[in-house]
């Protein structure tokens, strides 16, 4: 019962928030609604029993990714409305067609999958975190390490791209205690 209420509540809110994200002219609105939509998606994961995934969604997506976006928004002017020439209505037909196709495919998928066997079944009475951990570090160890390397590469790339001339100080290049020291020497 609670699950049904939660599902419908989360669905309506998520869809509404993501619509705001996509349609809004204001970056601040878009960012806020996207972040809160991510929190609600973490709620979906909690309903689905994927506790660990939900927490990862909270920490990584909400806590890091969206915070990085908003930090980047400070480089741009976030309070102004975006003026952009949106794509004309001709494309929207194409869009509608594609979305419908996706919808049909997705509805069809469960019907054809009655015979699917669980490769890595969940265990009753074992917490989701333990379950996930065992699978992640046995079967998916190599992709996990690759993902780690990818994150490292992305971090270095981000530092190199955004961090040019970070070492140049805008003010005079002196430490605070250096200044005190120089003052003291002058007084003597």
């Amino acid at each position: 019962m609670y699950e049904v209420i939660a599902f419908y509540l989360f669905s309506v809110l998520t869809i509404g928030l993501f619509l705001v994200t996509v349609m809004s002219k204001n970056v601040l609105y878009a960012m806020t609604s996207l972040a809160s939509g991510m929190v609600l998606i973490a709620g979906f994961f909690f309903i689905l029993g994927a506790d660990f995934l939900g927490v990862v969604q909270l920490i990584v997506y909400v806590g890091a990714v969206m915070a990085l976006y908003s930090f980047a928004m400070m480089f741009f002017d976030a309070t102004k409305d975006i003026k952009e020439k949106n794509t004309s209505a001709a494309l929207v037909f194409l869009l509608g067609g594609m979305s419908a196709l996706v919808l049909v495919l997705i509805f069809a998928a469960p019907i054809h999958s009655e015979t699917i066997q669980a490769l890595y079944p969940m265990h009753e009475g074992v917490g989701n975190a333990q379950d996930v951990g065992i699978v992640l570090f046995t079967k998916y160890l190599v992709p996990f390490e690759v993902a780690a390397v990818m994150l490292l590469v992305a971090m270095i790339a981000g530092i190199i791209l955004a961090g040019k001339k970070m070492d140049d100080s805008l003010t005079e290049d002196l430490d605070a205690d250096d200044e005190i020291y120089i003052q003291l020497k002058d007084e003597k």
């Binding site: 430490d175 205690d177 250096d178 005190i180 020291y181 003291l184």
Partner: protein, 207 residues
């Protein structure tokens, strides 16, 4: 606080010592050494101990520094020039002012106004006396010039008022007759100096 203690505010006699800040570390190794030393030297905990000690002192050691101002007041310097007081003669209770008018004359901001008349004994007496504290600059000349030590600067330093021109009448500043025993001889601005007795020379009667 006595006058002598109060007056000793000479900067430079308190034995200040300069702190030796040392050299700033230049190389990475030196910086690392300095950080390690500061981390494990417990310098941070010294700071924590100092505040905890002060807290103990405040709570149990009576080291409190707060003056609850409207209820408690700090003693002011005897030479502080606050609102004027009019003193009485201790023996008779009559006010000391003889109506000479010197204070009115010397007042550089023209805030003292007085009027005198002869009373039934053909003695001069003050009939009107006001000080406009909106104008008064508390220079203290009136107290200095007064020959009878009648007008002095008292201890009341809360001079806020609702109007720019706030007049005080003679009776407001005069020591109430029932508090005559509380009246203190004024040793501050305009009074004779503490060593006045030593400076007195015998009048050479031979002249």
């Amino acid at each position: 606080m006595g006058l002598e203690q109060f007056k000793n505010r000479n900067v430079g006699t308190q034995n200040y010592t300069m702190l030796d800040l040392g050299e700033s570390p230049k190389t990475g190794i030196d910086k690392f050494k300095q950080i390690t030393k500061r981390t494990f030297n417990g310098e941070l905990f010294v700071g924590l101990w100092v505040t905890l000690r002060e807290m103990g002192g405040t709570l149990f050691g009576n080291k409190l520094h707060t003056i609850k101002y409207p209820f408690e007041k700090l003693p002011i310097s005897p030479r502080y020039r606050a609102i004027h007081d009019m003193l009485r003669l201790l023996e008779s209770g009559h006010y000391r002012c003889i109506g000479c008018g010197l204070c009115e004359k010397i007042c550089i901001s023209n805030c003292i106004t007085m009027d005198t008349r002869y009373d039934e004994n053909q003695r001069k007496e003050v009939s009107e006396y006001t000080i406009n504290f909106g104008r008064c600059i508390f220079c203290g000349y009136c107290a200095e010039v007064c020959p009878e030590l009648a007008i002095v600067h008292g201890p009341r330093y809360e001079t806020a008022s609702e109007q720019r021109a706030s007049f005080s009448l003679f009776e407001d500043m005069l020591t109430p007759i029932d508090k005559l025993n509380l009246q203190q001889e004024y040793d501050g601005f305009g009074a004779v100096s503490p060593n006045a007795d030593d400076n007195i020379k015998q009048t050479p009667l031979a002249y």
